[in-house]
């Protein structure tokens, strides 16, 4: 597959390629100093570009097809992972995956949206857009985790719940609502990680937890910028403005008190270095789990409800 290079990544990648090229001649020519200068330059350039990303650019990064997905993180972080399938009522939704495995010394359940990387796998995964049975599979697994006192980690990465006819017939709304209801009082620690796209109820449907973490270049909001543009501006052309207005970046959401912690990404974004992104996430998850495991189940649930009840702004 041809690599997707985003517009704002171009100058960085061109410079990196030039350095690559020069390295081939490093043994024959005395250019080590020149290479070092260029390397410094590319680091500076990357820093400048990435510290000034617009919200829309972050949305593009969150959707990058080379970005690590739930199963990538699972394989990087967990030992003895066993994937479990099906909602026991209708079928096995491929847009949500889940199973138990070992994270360090803890057995945990990981449940997350799963996208595909090319056309074929995207069709198989329905582009990461779950049907009701996906949410019901997630709930079944989370209830298993509660039964066996295993902490839950959920990973959010979806362009939205699937807006199809059959999804409606099988109760898309009910499935999401049920998950919010049940997740709010499951008596085990729940850590939510927004790894890519957090689009609306389809994302939140597995997103109620004690700690909500978010990757630096992920986005999370009530609606995707394009859809917001089409409804409020009645045109698809205002996606950049919509992304700005929605304040959907990790730093925005930290400020709004919607998330608890930002997970830093490797230089150039998680898609440039899966291993580094996986290592950071694992380290942070272990840290967070250590704290949550000490809290009594009743206290955990009480604090979780309180946390979500605080969200919102009003005057009276």
């Amino acid at each position: 597959m041809a690599k997707l290079i985003l517009d704002f990544e171009k100058p960085i990648i061109e410079l990196e390629q030039k350095i690559e090229e020069m390295r081939k001649y490093e043994d024959n020519l005395d250019i080590a100093g020149e290479i070092r200068t260029l390397e410094k330059k590319v680091d500076q350039l990357r820093d400048t570009i990435f510290s000034n990303l617009t919200r829309w650019q972050r949305v593009q990064l969150a959707r990058h097809p080379d970005r690590p997905y739930t199963l990538d993180y699972i394989h990087m972080m967990l030992d003895d992972f066993v994937e479990l399938h099906g909602d026991r009522h209708f079928g096995d939704d491929k847009a949500i995956v889940g199973g138990f495995g070992r994270l360090g010394e803890d057995t945990v359940l990981v449940v997350g949206h799963q996208k595909g990387r090319d056309t074929k796998s995207n069709v198989y995964r329905n582009f990461g857009m779950p049907n009701p049975e996906g949410y019901r599979k997630a709930l079944r697994l989370m209830q298993l985790a509660a039964k066996f006192r295993r902490p839950i980690i959920t990973m959010l990465d979806t362009p939205g719940a699937y807006p199809g006819m059959e999804a409606e017939e099988r109760g898309q709304a009910e499935a999401i609502a049920r998950n919010l209801f049940e997740m709010s009082h499951l008596p085990v620690p729940i850590i939510v990680v927004i790894i890519g796209e957090g689009a609306s109820g389809g994302a939140l449907g597995i997103g109620v937890g004690d700690r909500v973490l978010m990757f630096e270049n992920a986005w999370y909001s009530v609606i995707a910028p394009e859809s917001c543009s089409s409804i409020l501006w009645r045109s698809w052309d205002y996606k950049e403005q919509a992304a700005e207005a929605l304040k959907l970046s990790a730093s925005d959401l930290l400020e709004q008190g919607i998330i608890d912690r930002i997970i830093p990404e490797p230089p150039g974004g998680a898609h440039r270095n899966h291993a580094a992104a996986g290592e950071t996430l694992k380290k942070i998850l272990l840290e967070e789990l250590k704290v949550l495991k000490k809290i009594k189940p009743e206290k955990l649930v009480e604090k979780r409800v309180e946390k979500f009840c605080k969200m919102g702004r009003w005057e009276e």
Binding site: E168, E169, A177, L180, A245, L246, M311
Partner: protein, 280 residues
């Protein structure tokens, strides 16, 4: 989000504006019959000929359902603060100001306590006239407090929904109201207090994906549009027209998501019967 296409005839001058058009004569959307306002009022704002249910607001529902002079409103003046300084083609803060002026309402939900055939309850009713019945921070907080009241006083809860979904102009704050209201309902459920969800036309998006679909008992007014995605979006996805009756109350009952489909004239008696069976 059909509220953007609302025509000028719906813009009244002041006071308690109703969803149903002003003026003495109204054309029925169902059968095109011309109906006099008095006749509509006497018939629960439904069409005698075809049964079409006109959209009504919290004021009409409280009148229809509650025993006279029993309603005590809570948090009547809670209002949005435009937490994100949201601007699209209009400033959100102006949109709120204008809508308050136009409708006489402070936001898209009113809450309080009252009695229904002598049974004390906590009642919540949405107003579609207020920015499409959209759910932002105020809707979420008022419902959370209503649930707290139901918990404290051990009173059954009734929520009448009418909404296009979460309010875009409060972005992530709006989304989190789904989690907030659902979490409070879990507390209510754990306490063994009944919750009746009444869905009216339309109940879609984030409201359906949270409290509307979490009732112990689901009642829907006949013909109401109820769903997660709106029909326009689904049509776009599948690339063809939707079958007649798709996402209507009767269809949802057939698919197993609604207990009782009612004509509005039977709503009060149906709720009363259910409450007596669950609480006596």
């Amino acid at each position: 989000m059909s509220w953007f296409r609302r025509s000028k005839e719906n813009i009244s001058t002041a006071g308690q504006k109703k969803d149903i058009p002003d003026g003495q004569w109204t054309k029925c959307e169902g059968c095109s019959d011309i109906i006099h306002r008095k006749q509509l009022e006497q018939n629960y704002f439904t069409c005698l000929k075809c049964g079409h249910h006109f959209r009504i607001g919290s004021r009409e529902y409280f009148e229809l359902l509650l025993d006279p002079k029993t309603f005590k409103e809570m948090d009547a003046k809670m209002r949005s603060v435009d937490p994100l300084n949201f601007v699209d083609t209009k400033r959100y803060s102006d949109r709120i100001k204008d809508t308050i002026k136009k409708t006489g309402l402070y936001d898209a939900v009113r809450t309080g306590t009252g009695e229904i055939n002598g049974i004390p309850i906590v009642i919540v009713c949405m107003d579609f006239a207020f920015i499409g019945g959209s759910m932002g921070s105020v809707v979420g907080e008022k419902i959370a407090r209503a649930i707290d009241r139901a918990l404290k006083k051990k009173l059954p809860l009734i929520i009448i929904s009418a909404s296009g979904g979460a309010r875009m102009m409060e972005a992530a704050y709006s989304l989190m109201q789904l989690a907030k209201t659902s979490a409070k309902l879990a507390q209510l459920s754990d306490a063994g207090i009944p919750y009746i969800s009444v869905m009216t036309d339309p109940t879609t998006g984030g409201v359906t994906a949270s409290y509307a679909m979490l009732g112990d008992i689901h009642i829907a007014e006949q013909g109401s549009l109820i769903g997660f995605a709106g029909p326009r979006v689904i049509k776009q996805t599948i690339g063809r027209d939707l079958p007649k009756g798709f996402q209507r109350a009767e269809f949802l009952q057939e698919k197993g998501f609604i207990d009782i489909v009612v004509h509005r004239k039977d709503l009060k008696e149906t709720i009363t019967k259910v409450l007596r069976l669950l609480t006596d």
